[in-house]
Protein backbone atom coordinates (compact mmCIF):
# COMPACT_ATOMS: atom_id res chain seq x y z
CA UNK A 1 0.00 0.00 0.00
CA UNK A 2 2.50 2.59 1.14
CA UNK A 3 0.53 5.54 -0.20
CA UNK A 4 2.65 8.15 1.55
CA UNK A 5 5.54 8.13 -0.98
CA UNK A 6 3.02 8.10 -3.84
CA UNK A 7 1.15 11.08 -2.38
CA UNK A 8 4.41 12.93 -1.72
CA UNK A 9 5.70 12.32 -5.28
CA UNK A 10 2.37 13.28 -6.78
CA UNK A 11 2.36 16.53 -4.80
CA UNK A 12 5.98 17.21 -5.76
CA UNK A 13 4.91 16.79 -9.38
CA UNK A 14 2.45 19.64 -8.77
CA UNK A 15 4.85 21.53 -6.55
CA UNK A 16 4.07 25.10 -7.59
CA UNK A 17 0.38 24.74 -6.78
CA UNK A 18 1.21 22.66 -3.72
CA UNK A 19 3.73 25.24 -2.50
CA UNK A 20 1.17 28.03 -2.85
CA UNK A 21 -1.36 25.99 -0.93
CA UNK A 22 1.20 25.26 1.78
CA UNK A 23 2.16 28.92 1.90
CA UNK A 24 -1.45 30.01 2.33
CA UNK A 25 -1.90 27.55 5.18
CA UNK A 26 1.49 28.53 6.65
CA UNK A 27 0.62 32.23 6.76
CA UNK A 28 -2.71 31.50 8.38
CA UNK A 29 -1.14 29.17 10.94
CA UNK A 30 1.61 31.72 11.67
CA UNK A 31 -1.07 34.32 12.27
CA UNK A 32 -2.98 32.00 14.57
CA UNK A 33 0.11 30.97 16.54
CA UNK A 34 1.32 34.56 16.73
CA UNK A 35 -2.01 35.91 17.91
CA UNK A 36 -2.27 33.13 20.45
CA UNK A 37 1.26 33.81 21.69
CA UNK A 38 0.73 37.56 21.98
CA UNK A 39 -2.58 36.92 23.66
CA UNK A 40 -0.98 34.69 26.27
CA UNK A 41 1.90 37.09 26.82
CA UNK A 42 -0.42 40.10 26.99
CA UNK A 43 -2.63 38.33 29.48
CA UNK A 44 0.37 37.29 31.54
CA UNK A 45 1.91 40.70 31.35
CA UNK A 46 -1.44 42.17 32.30
CA UNK A 47 -1.95 39.78 35.20
CA UNK A 48 1.59 40.36 36.41
CA UNK A 49 1.16 44.14 36.66
CA UNK A 50 0.69 43.77 40.37
CA UNK A 51 1.38 40.86 42.67
CA UNK A 52 1.93 40.32 46.34
CA UNK A 53 -0.62 42.98 47.21
CA UNK A 54 -3.59 41.67 49.17
CA UNK A 55 -5.93 44.64 48.88
CA UNK A 56 -6.21 47.88 46.96
CA UNK A 57 -8.11 50.52 48.91
CA UNK A 58 -9.59 53.74 47.52
CA UNK A 59 -12.68 55.88 47.67
CA UNK A 60 -15.92 54.00 47.04
CA UNK A 61 -16.10 52.89 43.41
CA UNK A 62 -16.13 49.75 41.31
CA UNK A 63 -13.19 47.35 41.50
CA UNK A 64 -12.21 47.89 37.86
CA UNK A 65 -12.20 51.65 38.19
CA UNK A 66 -10.12 51.48 41.36
CA UNK A 67 -7.66 49.10 39.70
CA UNK A 68 -7.46 51.27 36.59
CA UNK A 69 -6.49 54.47 38.32
CA UNK A 70 -4.44 53.10 41.22
CA UNK A 71 -2.41 50.45 39.39
CA UNK A 72 -2.73 51.12 35.65
CA UNK A 73 -2.84 54.88 36.18
CA UNK A 74 -5.58 55.26 33.62
CA UNK A 75 -8.53 57.56 34.20
CA UNK A 76 -9.27 59.74 37.17
CA UNK A 77 -9.91 58.78 40.77
CA UNK A 78 -13.47 59.42 41.89
CA UNK A 79 -12.45 60.94 45.18
CA UNK A 80 -9.65 61.00 47.72
CA UNK A 81 -9.52 59.23 51.03
CA UNK A 82 -8.51 60.88 54.26
CA UNK A 83 -5.11 60.54 55.82
CA UNK A 84 -6.80 59.49 59.06
CA UNK A 85 -8.48 56.50 57.41
CA UNK A 86 -5.18 55.51 55.83
CA UNK A 87 -3.40 55.74 59.18
CA UNK A 88 -6.06 53.64 60.80
CA UNK A 89 -5.47 50.81 58.34
CA UNK A 90 -1.71 51.21 58.24
CA UNK A 91 -1.50 50.78 62.00
CA UNK A 92 -3.81 47.78 62.11
CA UNK A 93 -2.04 44.78 63.68
CA UNK A 94 -2.97 42.47 60.76
CA UNK A 95 -1.39 44.84 58.25
CA UNK A 96 2.24 44.14 57.36
CA UNK A 97 2.79 47.09 55.07
CA UNK A 98 0.96 49.74 53.06
CA UNK A 99 1.89 51.75 50.02
CA UNK A 100 0.13 55.13 49.84
CA UNK A 101 -0.55 56.52 46.37
CA UNK A 102 -1.35 60.13 45.63
CA UNK A 103 -2.20 61.00 42.05
CA UNK A 104 -3.22 64.14 40.23
CA UNK A 105 -0.09 65.64 38.76
CA UNK A 106 1.89 64.82 35.69
CA UNK A 107 5.18 65.36 33.97
CA UNK A 108 5.07 65.70 30.19
CA UNK A 109 2.27 63.19 29.85
CA UNK A 110 3.58 60.78 32.48
CA UNK A 111 1.70 60.41 35.74
CA UNK A 112 3.30 61.62 38.93
CA UNK A 113 2.83 59.27 41.86
CA UNK A 114 3.20 60.56 45.38
CA UNK A 115 4.19 57.73 47.68
CA UNK A 116 6.77 56.78 50.25
CA UNK A 117 9.78 54.48 50.57
CA UNK A 118 7.49 51.54 51.16
CA UNK A 119 6.72 51.61 47.39
CA UNK A 120 10.26 50.60 46.47
CA UNK A 121 10.37 48.08 49.28
CA UNK A 122 7.03 46.30 48.94
CA UNK A 123 5.65 46.78 45.43
CA UNK A 124 5.75 43.47 43.59
CA UNK A 125 4.98 42.59 39.97
CA UNK A 126 5.16 39.47 37.86
CA UNK A 127 6.35 36.53 39.84
CA UNK A 128 6.65 38.65 43.00
CA UNK A 129 9.58 40.54 41.60
CA UNK A 130 10.52 43.67 43.57
CA UNK A 131 11.34 46.95 41.90
CA UNK A 132 15.03 47.43 41.20
CA UNK A 133 17.05 50.52 40.41
CA UNK A 134 18.87 50.75 37.11
CA UNK A 135 20.62 53.81 38.53
CA UNK A 136 20.51 55.80 41.75
CA UNK A 137 18.14 54.97 44.58
CA UNK A 138 14.92 55.98 46.37
CA UNK A 139 14.10 59.61 47.07
CA UNK A 140 15.41 60.98 50.33
CA UNK A 141 15.02 64.74 49.97
CA UNK A 142 11.76 66.60 49.56
CA UNK A 143 12.45 67.45 45.92
CA UNK A 144 13.84 64.12 44.82
CA UNK A 145 12.14 62.10 42.07
CA UNK A 146 12.46 58.50 40.89
CA UNK A 147 11.41 57.85 37.28
CA UNK A 148 10.31 54.66 35.58
CA UNK A 149 12.33 53.12 32.77
CA UNK A 150 10.03 54.31 29.98
CA UNK A 151 10.03 57.88 31.30
CA UNK A 152 13.83 57.87 31.34
CA UNK A 153 14.03 56.36 27.86
CA UNK A 154 11.38 58.53 26.23
CA UNK A 155 12.64 61.79 27.70
CA UNK A 156 16.32 60.86 27.83
CA UNK A 157 16.69 61.47 31.54
CA UNK A 158 19.72 60.67 33.65
CA UNK A 159 20.48 60.96 37.34
CA UNK A 160 20.80 64.58 38.36
CA UNK A 161 18.46 65.98 35.69
CA UNK A 162 15.96 68.54 36.93
CA UNK A 163 12.30 68.32 36.06
CA UNK A 164 9.17 70.28 36.89
CA UNK A 165 5.78 68.83 37.59
CA UNK A 166 2.55 70.03 36.04
CA UNK A 167 -0.68 70.41 37.90
CA UNK A 168 -3.27 68.08 36.43
CA UNK A 169 -2.91 64.95 34.39
CA UNK A 170 -3.17 65.99 30.75
CA UNK A 171 -0.46 66.25 28.18
CA UNK A 172 -1.17 69.91 27.53
CA UNK A 173 0.43 72.89 29.08
CA UNK A 174 -1.09 73.12 32.53
CA UNK A 175 0.03 75.27 35.31
CA UNK A 176 3.55 74.12 36.11
CA UNK A 177 4.83 73.78 39.60
CA UNK A 178 7.93 75.37 38.17
CA UNK A 179 8.75 77.10 41.39
CA UNK A 180 9.74 73.72 42.83
CA UNK A 181 11.88 71.74 40.41
CA UNK A 182 12.71 68.13 41.25
CA UNK A 183 16.00 66.32 40.88
CA UNK A 184 16.04 62.79 39.49
CA UNK A 185 17.81 60.60 42.02
CA UNK A 186 16.75 57.18 40.79
CA UNK A 187 15.81 55.37 37.59
CA UNK A 188 13.95 52.09 37.92
CA UNK A 189 14.61 49.04 35.82
CA UNK A 190 12.04 48.12 33.22
CA UNK A 191 9.13 46.13 34.61
CA UNK A 192 6.67 45.96 31.73
CA UNK A 193 4.07 47.53 34.03
CA UNK A 194 2.69 51.10 34.37
CA UNK A 195 5.50 51.73 36.89
CA UNK A 196 7.73 52.27 33.84
CA UNK A 197 5.58 55.23 32.86
CA UNK A 198 5.45 56.90 36.27
CA UNK A 199 7.38 59.64 38.03
CA UNK A 200 7.61 58.96 41.74
CA UNK A 201 7.97 61.62 44.42
CA UNK A 202 7.31 61.65 48.14
CA UNK A 203 3.88 62.37 49.60
CA UNK A 204 5.44 65.35 51.36
CA UNK A 205 6.58 66.74 48.03
CA UNK A 206 3.03 66.48 46.71
CA UNK A 207 1.83 68.42 49.73
CA UNK A 208 4.62 70.93 49.37
CA UNK A 209 4.01 71.75 45.72
CA UNK A 210 0.34 72.19 46.38
CA UNK A 211 0.81 74.59 49.28
CA UNK A 212 -1.31 77.57 48.37
CA UNK A 213 -2.90 75.70 45.43
CA UNK A 214 -6.04 74.86 47.29
CA UNK A 215 -8.05 76.94 44.85
CA UNK A 216 -6.69 74.90 41.95
CA UNK A 217 -4.19 77.52 40.89
CA UNK A 218 -1.22 79.17 42.41
CA UNK A 219 -1.85 81.65 45.22
CA UNK A 220 0.71 84.39 45.18
CA UNK A 221 3.77 84.47 47.35
CA UNK A 222 3.35 81.53 49.60
CA UNK A 223 4.55 77.96 49.47
CA UNK A 224 7.85 76.30 50.02
CA UNK A 225 10.63 77.06 47.62
CA UNK A 226 13.66 74.92 47.09
CA UNK A 227 16.29 75.95 49.55
CA UNK A 228 13.77 77.63 51.76
CA UNK A 229 12.77 75.99 54.95
CA UNK A 230 9.88 73.70 54.29
CA UNK A 231 6.69 74.40 56.22
CA UNK A 232 6.69 72.59 59.51
CA UNK A 233 4.05 70.02 58.67
CA UNK A 234 3.89 68.46 55.22
CA UNK A 235 1.75 65.53 56.32
CA UNK A 236 -0.89 65.14 53.61
CA UNK A 237 -4.51 65.49 54.53
CA UNK A 238 -5.65 63.06 51.84
CA UNK A 239 -4.29 60.45 49.44
CA UNK A 240 -5.81 58.77 46.38
CA UNK A 241 -5.48 55.10 47.26
CA UNK A 242 -3.23 52.67 49.02
CA UNK A 243 -2.05 49.11 48.61
CA UNK A 244 -2.16 46.76 51.57
CA UNK A 245 -0.03 43.74 52.39
CA UNK A 246 -1.35 41.61 55.24
CA UNK A 247 0.58 39.63 57.82
CA UNK A 248 -1.50 36.63 56.88
CA UNK A 249 -3.42 36.15 53.65
CA UNK A 250 -6.05 34.33 55.63
CA UNK A 251 -7.23 37.68 56.98
CA UNK A 252 -7.90 39.15 53.54
CA UNK A 253 -11.66 38.59 53.39
CA UNK A 254 -12.16 39.81 56.92
CA UNK A 255 -10.09 42.91 56.25
CA UNK A 256 -11.85 43.55 52.95
CA UNK A 257 -15.24 43.40 54.58
CA UNK A 258 -14.13 45.61 57.47
CA UNK A 259 -12.90 48.25 55.01
CA UNK A 260 -15.97 48.09 52.79
CA UNK A 261 -18.17 48.51 55.85
CA UNK A 262 -16.04 51.22 57.43
CA UNK A 263 -18.38 53.90 58.73
CA UNK A 264 -15.92 56.78 58.93
CA UNK A 265 -15.65 57.13 55.14
CA UNK A 266 -16.94 55.44 51.98
CA UNK A 267 -14.11 53.09 51.05
CA UNK A 268 -13.69 50.31 48.57
CA UNK A 269 -11.24 47.48 49.12
CA UNK A 270 -10.66 45.08 46.24
CA UNK A 271 -8.45 42.08 45.76
CA UNK A 272 -6.14 42.77 42.79
CA UNK A 273 -6.58 39.27 41.34
CA UNK A 274 -10.35 39.58 41.27
CA UNK A 275 -10.26 43.07 39.80
CA UNK A 276 -7.68 42.04 37.19
CA UNK A 277 -9.92 39.20 36.17
CA UNK A 278 -12.93 41.49 35.86
CA UNK A 279 -10.93 43.93 33.80
CA UNK A 280 -9.59 41.14 31.60
CA UNK A 281 -13.12 40.04 30.85
CA UNK A 282 -13.56 43.38 29.14
CA UNK A 283 -10.12 43.63 27.55
CA UNK A 284 -10.15 39.94 26.70
CA UNK A 285 -13.14 40.35 24.37
CA UNK A 286 -10.96 42.12 21.85
CA UNK A 287 -8.33 39.47 21.88
CA UNK A 288 -10.86 36.67 21.64
CA UNK A 289 -12.20 38.42 18.56
CA UNK A 290 -8.65 38.56 17.21
CA UNK A 291 -8.24 34.85 17.79
CA UNK A 292 -11.52 34.21 16.02
CA UNK A 293 -10.35 36.21 13.01
CA UNK A 294 -7.10 34.23 12.94
CA UNK A 295 -9.06 30.97 13.06
CA UNK A 296 -11.17 32.18 10.12
CA UNK A 297 -7.99 32.88 8.17
CA UNK A 298 -6.91 29.28 8.79
CA UNK A 299 -10.30 28.18 7.51
CA UNK A 300 -9.74 30.26 4.36
CA UNK A 301 -6.34 28.61 3.91
CA UNK A 302 -7.88 25.17 4.12
CA UNK A 303 -10.65 26.12 1.70
CA UNK A 304 -7.87 27.16 -0.67
CA UNK A 305 -6.37 23.70 -0.28
CA UNK A 306 -9.69 22.00 -1.02
CA UNK A 307 -10.13 24.19 -4.09
CA UNK A 308 -6.65 23.33 -5.35
CA UNK A 309 -7.19 19.61 -4.82
CA UNK A 310 -10.65 19.63 -6.39
CA UNK A 311 -9.50 21.46 -9.50
CA UNK A 312 -6.60 19.05 -9.87
CA UNK A 313 -8.86 16.01 -9.82
CA UNK A 314 -10.06 16.30 -13.40
CA UNK A 315 -6.58 16.31 -14.85
CA UNK A 316 -5.66 13.47 -12.53
CA UNK A 317 -8.30 11.03 -13.75
CA UNK A 318 -5.68 9.26 -15.85
CA UNK A 319 -3.45 8.95 -12.79
CA UNK A 320 -6.31 7.40 -10.85
CA UNK A 321 -7.14 4.98 -13.69
CA UNK A 322 -3.49 3.89 -13.87
CA UNK A 323 -3.48 3.29 -10.13
CA UNK A 324 -6.71 1.32 -10.44
CA UNK A 325 -5.22 -0.81 -13.23
CA UNK A 326 -2.24 -1.78 -11.10
CA UNK A 327 -4.51 -2.92 -8.32
CA UNK A 328 -5.55 0.14 -6.33
CA UNK A 329 -9.01 0.02 -4.86
CA UNK A 330 -11.26 3.07 -4.87
CA UNK A 331 -10.48 3.20 -1.17
CA UNK A 332 -6.80 3.63 -2.03
CA UNK A 333 -7.68 6.57 -4.26
CA UNK A 334 -9.70 8.05 -1.40
CA UNK A 335 -6.83 7.55 1.03
CA UNK A 336 -4.31 8.94 -1.44
CA UNK A 337 -6.23 12.22 -1.51
CA UNK A 338 -6.57 12.21 2.27
CA UNK A 339 -2.83 11.65 2.66
CA UNK A 340 -2.21 14.53 0.28
CA UNK A 341 -4.46 16.79 2.37
CA UNK A 342 -2.66 15.70 5.52
CA UNK A 343 0.74 16.36 3.92
CA UNK A 344 -0.31 19.80 2.71
CA UNK A 345 -1.79 20.72 6.08
CA UNK A 346 1.19 19.34 8.00
CA UNK A 347 3.67 21.14 5.75
CA UNK A 348 1.61 24.30 6.20
CA UNK A 349 1.68 23.89 9.97
CA UNK A 350 5.44 23.33 10.07
CA UNK A 351 6.12 26.28 7.78
CA UNK A 352 3.64 28.37 9.78
CA UNK A 353 5.45 27.61 13.03
CA UNK A 354 8.79 28.48 11.45
CA UNK A 355 7.36 31.81 10.24
CA UNK A 356 5.63 32.55 13.57
CA UNK A 357 8.54 31.67 15.83
CA UNK A 358 11.04 33.32 13.52
CA UNK A 359 9.00 36.51 13.43
CA UNK A 360 8.54 36.46 17.20
CA UNK A 361 12.25 35.94 17.79
CA UNK A 362 12.92 38.94 15.55
CA UNK A 363 10.20 41.08 17.11
CA UNK A 364 10.78 40.09 20.75
CA UNK A 365 13.44 42.74 21.53
CA UNK A 366 11.29 45.42 19.90
CA UNK A 367 8.16 44.37 21.76
CA UNK A 368 9.98 44.37 25.05
CA UNK A 369 11.61 47.73 24.43
CA UNK A 370 8.57 49.49 23.06
CA UNK A 371 5.68 47.94 24.91
CA UNK A 372 7.30 46.27 27.88
CA UNK A 373 5.77 43.09 26.53
CA UNK A 374 8.16 40.28 27.24
CA UNK A 375 7.69 37.56 24.62
CA UNK A 376 9.54 34.43 25.47
CA UNK A 377 10.28 32.41 22.33
CA UNK A 378 10.77 28.88 23.57
CA UNK A 379 9.69 25.48 22.40
CA UNK A 380 6.08 25.25 21.18
CA UNK A 381 3.74 24.89 24.13
CA UNK A 382 1.08 22.26 24.54
CA UNK A 383 -1.40 24.80 23.25
CA UNK A 384 0.70 25.34 20.12
CA UNK A 385 0.78 21.60 19.54
CA UNK A 386 -2.98 21.51 20.02
CA UNK A 387 -3.29 24.20 17.33
CA UNK A 388 -1.03 22.12 15.05
CA UNK A 389 -3.10 19.00 15.61
CA UNK A 390 -6.33 20.93 15.11
CA UNK A 391 -5.16 22.38 11.78
CA UNK A 392 -4.01 18.99 10.48
CA UNK A 393 -7.28 17.50 11.72
CA UNK A 394 -9.24 20.24 9.98
CA UNK A 395 -7.12 19.56 6.88
CA UNK A 396 -8.10 15.90 6.96
CA UNK A 397 -11.72 16.87 7.41
CA UNK A 398 -11.55 19.35 4.53
CA UNK A 399 -9.74 16.71 2.46
CA UNK A 400 -12.76 14.43 2.72
CA UNK A 401 -14.46 16.40 -0.03
CA UNK A 402 -11.80 15.97 -2.77
CA UNK A 403 -11.14 12.43 -1.53
CA UNK A 404 -14.79 11.56 -1.87
CA UNK A 405 -14.95 13.15 -5.32
CA UNK A 406 -11.88 11.19 -6.43
CA UNK A 407 -13.41 8.02 -5.00
CA UNK A 408 -16.62 8.61 -6.97
CA UNK A 409 -14.69 9.44 -10.13
CA UNK A 410 -12.59 6.33 -9.89
CA UNK A 411 -15.67 4.16 -9.36
CA UNK A 412 -17.26 5.67 -12.46
CA UNK A 413 -14.15 5.73 -14.60
CA UNK A 414 -12.80 2.33 -13.71
CA UNK A 415 -9.92 1.53 -15.98
CA UNK A 416 -11.03 3.63 -18.90
CA UNK A 417 -9.00 6.75 -19.17
CA UNK A 418 -10.93 9.78 -20.25
CA UNK A 419 -9.18 12.93 -21.19
Amino acid sequence: MRLLPLAARSLWNRRVAAALTVFAIAVSVALLVGVQKLRTEARESFASTISGTDLIVGARSGPVNLLLYSVFRIGDPTANISWQSYQLVARHPDVAWTIPISLGDSHRGFRVVGTNGSYFEHYRFGDRRPLAFAAGGPFTDLHDAVVGAEVARALGYAIGDRITIAHGIGEGSFAEHDDQPFTIVGILERTGTPVDRSVHVSLEAITAIHEGWESGMRAPAIGARPGETAPADLTPTAITAFLVGLESRAAVFQMQRALNEYRGEALSAVMPGVALQQLWQVVGLADTALLLVAACVVLAGLIGMVTALLTSLNERRREMAILRSVGARPLHVFLLLEVESALLAAAGVVAGFVIAFGAMALAAPLLEQRFGLFVEVGAPTGYDLAIAAAVVGAGLLAGLLPAWRAYRNSLADGLSIRL
Binding site: N13, S325, G327, R329, P330, G414, L415, S416, I417
Partner: protein
Protein backbone atom coordinates in the same frame (compact mmCIF):
# COMPACT_ATOMS: atom_id res chain seq x y z
CA UNK B 1 -4.00 -24.31 -12.47
CA UNK B 2 -6.20 -26.25 -14.81
CA UNK B 3 -9.02 -23.70 -14.69
CA UNK B 4 -9.12 -21.44 -17.71
CA UNK B 5 -7.84 -17.90 -17.45
CA UNK B 6 -11.15 -16.47 -18.61
CA UNK B 7 -14.44 -18.38 -18.75
CA UNK B 8 -17.54 -16.40 -19.64
CA UNK B 9 -21.02 -17.87 -19.96
CA UNK B 10 -24.13 -15.88 -20.86
CA UNK B 11 -22.71 -12.55 -19.77
CA UNK B 12 -25.05 -9.61 -20.14
CA UNK B 13 -24.22 -6.05 -19.24
CA UNK B 14 -26.16 -2.86 -19.78
CA UNK B 15 -25.35 0.67 -18.67
CA UNK B 16 -29.01 1.56 -19.17
CA UNK B 17 -31.85 -0.90 -18.75
CA UNK B 18 -33.07 -2.30 -22.06
CA UNK B 19 -29.95 -1.29 -23.99
CA UNK B 20 -27.44 -4.09 -23.48
CA UNK B 21 -23.84 -3.37 -24.36
CA UNK B 22 -22.63 -6.91 -23.89
CA UNK B 23 -24.37 -10.20 -24.57
CA UNK B 24 -21.71 -12.90 -24.75
CA UNK B 25 -22.87 -16.53 -24.78
CA UNK B 26 -19.44 -18.05 -24.33
CA UNK B 27 -15.83 -16.89 -24.20
CA UNK B 28 -13.18 -19.33 -23.06
CA UNK B 29 -9.49 -18.54 -22.88
CA UNK B 30 -7.33 -21.42 -21.59
CA UNK B 31 -4.24 -20.75 -19.46
CA UNK B 32 -1.15 -19.75 -21.37
CA UNK B 33 -3.01 -19.02 -24.60
CA UNK B 34 -2.28 -15.89 -26.56
CA UNK B 35 -5.54 -14.52 -27.89
CA UNK B 36 -6.14 -11.72 -30.33
CA UNK B 37 -9.51 -10.04 -29.81
CA UNK B 38 -10.54 -7.76 -32.63
CA UNK B 39 -12.57 -5.00 -31.06
CA UNK B 40 -13.36 -1.89 -33.05
CA UNK B 41 -14.64 1.06 -31.10
CA UNK B 42 -18.32 0.71 -30.34
CA UNK B 43 -18.17 -3.06 -29.99
CA UNK B 44 -18.41 -3.08 -26.18
CA UNK B 45 -14.68 -3.61 -25.79
CA UNK B 46 -14.10 -1.26 -22.84
CA UNK B 47 -17.05 -2.73 -20.99
CA UNK B 48 -15.83 -6.29 -21.55
CA UNK B 49 -12.36 -5.40 -20.28
CA UNK B 50 -13.91 -3.64 -17.27
CA UNK B 51 -15.86 -6.79 -16.43
CA UNK B 52 -12.90 -9.15 -16.92
CA UNK B 53 -10.65 -6.74 -15.01
CA UNK B 54 -13.02 -6.86 -12.06
CA UNK B 55 -13.93 -3.17 -12.16
CA UNK B 56 -17.50 -3.70 -13.35
CA UNK B 57 -19.71 -6.33 -11.73
CA UNK B 58 -21.24 -8.82 -14.18
CA UNK B 59 -24.98 -8.23 -14.22
CA UNK B 60 -26.03 -11.69 -15.30
CA UNK B 61 -24.36 -14.90 -16.35
CA UNK B 62 -21.09 -16.15 -14.95
CA UNK B 63 -17.66 -14.67 -15.41
CA UNK B 64 -14.82 -16.75 -14.07
CA UNK B 65 -11.38 -15.18 -14.14
CA UNK B 66 -8.36 -17.17 -12.95
CA UNK B 67 -10.71 -19.62 -11.30
CA UNK B 68 -12.72 -17.03 -9.36
CA UNK B 69 -16.40 -16.41 -10.01
CA UNK B 70 -16.48 -12.62 -10.21
CA UNK B 71 -20.21 -12.47 -9.62
CA UNK B 72 -19.68 -13.92 -6.18
CA UNK B 73 -16.85 -11.63 -5.18
CA UNK B 74 -17.16 -8.30 -3.43
CA UNK B 75 -15.81 -5.22 -5.17
CA UNK B 76 -12.73 -5.23 -2.97
CA UNK B 77 -12.06 -8.94 -3.61
CA UNK B 78 -12.32 -8.25 -7.36
CA UNK B 79 -9.85 -5.40 -6.88
CA UNK B 80 -7.55 -7.83 -5.05
CA UNK B 81 -7.86 -10.40 -7.84
CA UNK B 82 -6.87 -7.73 -10.37
CA UNK B 83 -3.98 -6.59 -8.24
CA UNK B 84 -2.67 -10.13 -7.73
CA UNK B 85 -3.36 -11.74 -11.07
CA UNK B 86 -3.85 -9.28 -13.92
CA UNK B 87 -1.49 -6.89 -15.65
CA UNK B 88 -2.73 -4.09 -17.91
CA UNK B 89 -1.19 -2.21 -20.79
CA UNK B 90 -3.22 0.60 -22.34
CA UNK B 91 -2.98 2.47 -25.60
CA UNK B 92 -0.80 5.26 -24.28
CA UNK B 93 0.04 7.40 -21.26
CA UNK B 94 0.35 4.32 -19.09
CA UNK B 95 2.91 5.79 -16.73
CA UNK B 96 2.72 8.07 -13.71
CA UNK B 97 4.80 11.08 -14.70
CA UNK B 98 6.02 11.72 -11.16
CA UNK B 99 7.59 8.31 -10.68
CA UNK B 100 10.89 7.12 -12.10
CA UNK B 101 10.90 4.37 -14.74
CA UNK B 102 11.80 1.72 -12.16
CA UNK B 103 9.24 3.01 -9.63
CA UNK B 104 6.56 2.85 -12.33
CA UNK B 105 7.45 -0.77 -12.97
CA UNK B 106 7.28 -1.79 -9.30
CA UNK B 107 3.95 -0.01 -8.79
CA UNK B 108 1.86 -3.26 -8.80
CA UNK B 109 3.96 -4.56 -5.91
CA UNK B 110 2.69 -1.64 -3.83
CA UNK B 111 -0.85 -2.95 -4.08
CA UNK B 112 -0.35 -6.70 -4.17
CA UNK B 113 1.58 -8.72 -1.61
CA UNK B 114 1.48 -11.74 -3.90
CA UNK B 115 3.13 -9.96 -6.81
CA UNK B 116 5.66 -8.46 -4.40
CA UNK B 117 6.51 -11.97 -3.23
CA UNK B 118 6.76 -13.40 -6.71
CA UNK B 119 8.93 -10.55 -7.89
CA UNK B 120 11.42 -11.49 -5.16
CA UNK B 121 13.13 -9.60 -2.40
CA UNK B 122 14.96 -7.34 -4.82
CA UNK B 123 12.05 -5.49 -6.41
CA UNK B 124 14.21 -2.99 -8.24
CA UNK B 125 16.41 -5.79 -9.56
CA UNK B 126 13.35 -7.62 -10.86
CA UNK B 127 12.13 -4.40 -12.50
CA UNK B 128 15.54 -3.82 -14.14
CA UNK B 129 15.66 -7.42 -15.42
CA UNK B 130 12.22 -7.05 -17.02
CA UNK B 131 13.16 -3.68 -18.50
CA UNK B 132 16.38 -5.13 -19.89
CA UNK B 133 14.48 -8.08 -21.39
CA UNK B 134 12.23 -5.52 -23.11
CA UNK B 135 15.23 -3.68 -24.48
CA UNK B 136 15.41 -0.91 -21.90
CA UNK B 137 18.65 -1.78 -20.15
CA UNK B 138 20.67 1.42 -20.53
CA UNK B 139 21.09 3.19 -17.16
CA UNK B 140 20.91 6.63 -18.84
CA UNK B 141 17.50 5.72 -20.20
CA UNK B 142 16.23 4.56 -16.82
CA UNK B 143 17.37 7.80 -15.17
CA UNK B 144 15.23 9.94 -17.48
CA UNK B 145 11.82 11.25 -16.44
CA UNK B 146 9.19 8.99 -17.99
CA UNK B 147 7.66 11.89 -19.93
CA UNK B 148 10.92 12.19 -21.89
CA UNK B 149 10.80 8.62 -23.15
CA UNK B 150 9.48 7.92 -26.64
CA UNK B 151 6.01 6.42 -26.87
CA UNK B 152 7.50 3.05 -27.85
CA UNK B 153 9.76 3.13 -24.80
CA UNK B 154 6.85 4.14 -22.58
CA UNK B 155 4.82 1.19 -23.86
CA UNK B 156 7.68 -1.18 -23.08
CA UNK B 157 7.91 0.27 -19.53
CA UNK B 158 4.16 -0.33 -19.23
CA UNK B 159 4.63 -3.92 -20.43
CA UNK B 160 7.40 -4.46 -17.87
CA UNK B 161 5.05 -3.15 -15.18
CA UNK B 162 2.21 -5.41 -16.34
CA UNK B 163 4.57 -8.40 -16.18
CA UNK B 164 6.16 -7.64 -12.78
CA UNK B 165 5.41 -10.34 -10.25
CA UNK B 166 4.25 -12.69 -13.07
CA UNK B 167 0.50 -12.12 -13.20
CA UNK B 168 -1.41 -15.00 -14.73
CA UNK B 169 -3.32 -12.79 -17.16
CA UNK B 170 -2.11 -9.82 -19.15
CA UNK B 171 -4.69 -7.61 -20.81
CA UNK B 172 -3.35 -5.33 -23.49
CA UNK B 173 -5.82 -2.75 -24.79
CA UNK B 174 -4.63 -1.32 -28.11
CA UNK B 175 -1.05 -1.16 -26.82
CA UNK B 176 0.45 -0.76 -30.27
CA UNK B 177 -1.90 1.68 -31.91
CA UNK B 178 0.29 4.67 -31.05
CA UNK B 179 3.37 2.96 -32.50
CA UNK B 180 4.55 2.90 -36.11
CA UNK B 181 4.45 -0.38 -38.01
CA UNK B 182 8.05 -1.49 -37.31
CA UNK B 183 7.87 -0.73 -33.62
CA UNK B 184 4.51 -2.45 -33.46
CA UNK B 185 5.80 -5.89 -34.39
CA UNK B 186 8.97 -5.51 -32.34
CA UNK B 187 6.93 -4.59 -29.30
CA UNK B 188 4.55 -7.46 -29.85
CA UNK B 189 7.40 -9.94 -30.22
CA UNK B 190 8.94 -8.84 -26.92
CA UNK B 191 5.58 -8.92 -25.15
CA UNK B 192 4.81 -12.43 -26.39
CA UNK B 193 8.25 -13.67 -25.51
CA UNK B 194 7.97 -12.44 -21.95
CA UNK B 195 4.46 -13.84 -21.60
CA UNK B 196 5.80 -17.19 -22.75
CA UNK B 197 8.65 -17.04 -20.22
CA UNK B 198 6.23 -16.30 -17.38
CA UNK B 199 3.48 -18.59 -18.64
CA UNK B 200 1.13 -15.62 -18.68
CA UNK B 201 -2.10 -15.74 -20.64
CA UNK B 202 -2.29 -12.84 -23.08
CA UNK B 203 -5.52 -11.15 -24.08
CA UNK B 204 -4.60 -8.68 -26.75
CA UNK B 205 -7.32 -6.30 -27.91
CA UNK B 206 -6.90 -4.29 -31.08
CA UNK B 207 -8.74 -3.13 -34.16
CA UNK B 208 -5.61 -3.75 -36.26
CA UNK B 209 -6.28 -7.17 -37.81
CA UNK B 210 -2.86 -7.32 -39.46
CA UNK B 211 -1.41 -8.39 -36.10
CA UNK B 212 -3.86 -11.24 -35.62
CA UNK B 213 -1.81 -13.83 -37.45
CA UNK B 214 0.89 -13.68 -34.75
CA UNK B 215 -1.46 -15.12 -32.10
CA UNK B 216 -2.58 -18.60 -31.13
CA UNK B 217 -6.18 -17.70 -31.79
CA UNK B 218 -8.14 -14.80 -33.19
CA UNK B 219 -11.54 -13.71 -32.00
CA UNK B 220 -13.82 -10.94 -33.12
CA UNK B 221 -15.83 -9.17 -30.48
CA UNK B 222 -18.60 -8.07 -32.89
CA UNK B 223 -19.06 -11.76 -33.69
CA UNK B 224 -19.22 -13.06 -30.12
CA UNK B 225 -21.15 -10.10 -28.78
CA UNK B 226 -24.80 -10.51 -29.71
CA UNK B 227 -25.66 -7.07 -28.37
CA UNK B 228 -25.29 -4.22 -30.84
CA UNK B 229 -24.19 -1.31 -28.72
CA UNK B 230 -24.05 2.18 -30.15
CA UNK B 231 -20.68 3.69 -30.67
CA UNK B 232 -21.15 6.17 -27.87
CA UNK B 233 -22.22 3.55 -25.36
CA UNK B 234 -19.08 1.50 -25.88
Amino acid sequence: MTEPAVDITDLRFAWMAGRPVLDVARLLIPRGERVFLRGPSGSGKSTLLGVVGGVLPPQSGTVRVLGEDLGRLSASRRDALRADGIGFVFQMFNLLPYLSVVDNVILPARFSARRRERAGADLEGAARRLLAALGLGQPTLLARPVAELSIGQQQRVAAARALLGTPQLLIADEPTSALDADAREAFLALLMQECAVAGTTLLFVSHDTSLGRLFDRQLSLPEINRARPDAEAA
